[in-house]
Each structure stands twice: as C-alpha cells, then as structure tokens.
Subunit: 206 residues, 2 copies
C-alpha cells in the first residue's frame, strides 16, 4: 500500500520513463504539477498530443517539418550544394544554433549498429545516395558527414563514403567529416587517448 | 522564423517551465516524446490532468490524499502521540522512504518568509495548534519540528515552539527539532561554518 494517491505515483512513473529523469526528480515534478495552476497541466497535456499530431517528416531531408518540406529545405537562400548528414533531427537544432551554416541537411535516423539490429536499410542512406545521384556533371558539392564521433558513427561515415565513391558520379563531390579533438575548455590531462590522438591528427597550422 | 515545427517548440516550452529542466533538456524531451509511441504521450497527458482532479488534501494533516483522510492519518497502527511537522507534502514522502517512523505528520504548506509575503496565517499553524490543544491532561506527546534547516525554517520552528508553550497545555508536550550537522559522506574541509557549528553543538556520546 502506497502512502501516495495513485494519480501522483502514476504521473511520477510517466516522468520517470523520460530520459535523464530519475525517481526523485520525477516525484518532485509530479508534486510541482499538482501544485501548479490547472491551465499549466492542461497546456502541457495538449502539447504532448500535438507533438505527435502536428509534426511531420520532411520528405527531402527527413528532419522535422510542419508541412511536407521543412523550413530549411524550403529556404531558397540555403545552398543545396552542401549537405550535412546527421544522425537525428535534434542534431540539426544543435548545428543551427551555432548559426552560419548555409547548406542543407540529411537526417539518417540513426547509425549502423549491428548490436541493436540497425543495418543500412533501416536508415535514410539510400535516400541520401539518391540526392547525390541527381547532382549534375561538373557541379561542385560537399557532403559533410556529421555523425557523432562514436564507433558506430565512424562506421556509418565510412559506409556512406564508400557508397558515394562507388556511384562514379561525374560531379565534383567532396566528402568531409566533422572535426574531432579536444572540446573547448577541456584539459589535456584528463582527455582519453583516442580523443588526444584525434586532436593530434587534426592539428592545423596557425 | 523558427526552423522547428511550433508543436515541438511549444512542448519544449512546457518542459522548460518545470523546475530543474533547462532549455537543452527540454528540447531533448520534446524530441523524445515526438519519437515515442503515441500511447506514452497520451498516458502522460492523462496523468497530468488526473493529478489535479484526483488528488485531495487530507483534512487532518494537510498532506496529499485520495479521500478526505490520507493513508497515514487513516492508519490505526500510527501513533497520534508523535506529530512530525514538515513544510511540504513531498517531505512526507522523503521521511516515509526512510521507514521506521510510526507517528503522524502535519504539513504546514511552507515556512514563514516575510520577503515572499508568507506570514503564519498563510500556513497551517493554527490547525497544528488546534491538534495540540485537544491533547488531554497527562498525555505524553512529541512534536518533531522537521522544517528544513534554513533561516526561514528555523524562524518557523521557533514561532511554533512559542505558540505551543503559550498554550499552557496540561499535557506533557515535548518539542524537538530534527538533527542538523554534516550529512553522511560529507567532508569537514568543505563544510560551511554554520553546518560545522551545528555539528559540534549536536555532538553525541558514543
């Protein structure tokens, strides 16, 4: 027998299933919402449903969209000659916050991960190849592979690189990988060996 | 113009208004819910409303309840001769998790805080006094003041102590305050002066 009303434990359980929220925070949030104005909970409940009902997938880059095309793919000021390939739609948000990038994106929906039974066919790799295939002879294009610098991210980057090279496209396609090394503010002393070796490999002339 | 669908930014804003959730986590949660099964979002939305509809306030201790009396006040095995006074209903959860406490509670609903315009009349202090007043002559009772060891918590504890003493009750009322000192696992070197002085004052014979 719990000393708490079931409505509180049920809401606590809902919060606890979210990533990064532990049992204590979940309980705290449930009590917070119990004490918050009713309109706040109602608005949040509405927004929880809207995110499933109103968000679509862009049919070009597979990022999030309100219509069939996302805001970025519909933006004529964006260059289609630079395609940044990312794992998830939320990565687009992170890169856009930096500002300055004027190309477009391609969201894979994950990375190749045999342990999780994710093969290339589960990802939007074929669709990326199709986007590259239609690039005309002589055109200059850059494909930035911006998957996370994890083992799976690296493997996926190599797989895509090979696929594009095998196309024998007549276009001038440059394939790049985002820089890897020490993050700003980090300390050499505490960095792991792979990061350090990447930082050395990726050194630039000043 | 945001690059994100409005449904995502609206849900992000809802999450961001919760305590302890920053803009990045809020965004991450919104994307998580977008990708989660629809039933999960629906269940969470339902629970958000239920917590306002189904949770009542216990008419005796002012903790959370499903009926007019909470599970603790309705439990005949609990001794009404020990009343633990806490700030908020969630504090009851924390103390109950420890286990072993066999008394009852009294939830004040906050602490006296002139800066936030919270006076004694905004709290359930009068109701606590009423509970103490009906204790019959000769009965032995303990009132544990378990407000947080903050300046406001201390002031509220002193205020309540005075109020109870002024009652001139014929019962044997012992008023105690929860122990204060170094938390388990803490380091003397990093403890603040007030905590250290409390730890010294609260020393016990071994």
């Amino acid at each position: 027998m719990s000393i708490l009303p079931k409505a509180i434990t049920d809401l606590t359980n809902s919060f606890e299933r979210l990533p990064g929220i532990g049992p204590k925070s979940a309980n705290r949030l449930a009590f917070y919402l119990m004490n918050a104005p009713r309109t706040f909970g109602e608005e949040m409940a509405r927004n929880l449903l809207r995110v499933k009902d109103e968000v679509k997938i862009c049919q070009k880059c597979f990022g999030v969209a309100e219509k069939d095309r996302c805001e970025i793919c519909s933006d004529e000021k964006r260059s289609e000659k630079i395609i940044c390939v990312v794992e998830r739609a939320i990565d687009v948000v992170a890169l856009e916050k930096v500002g300055g990038y004027k190309g477009v994106y391609h969201v894979l929906g994950g990375v190749i991960n045999p342990l999780d039974h994710v093969g290339p066919e589960e990802l939007k790799i074929e669709e990326l190849i199709n986007r590259v295939e239609v690039i005309k002879k002589g055109e200059k294009v850059e494909i930035i592979l911006a998957m996370n610098p994890t083992m799976e991210g690296e493997a996926t980057a190599l797989y895509i690189k090979k696929k594009i090279e095998n196309l024998n496209s007549k276009a001038e396609i440059k394939i790049t990988r985002i820089g890897s090394g020490l993050p700003i503010g980090a300390d050499l002393e505490f960095a792991d060996q792979i990061t350090l070796s990447r930082a050395m490999d990726g050194r630039r002339e000043l």
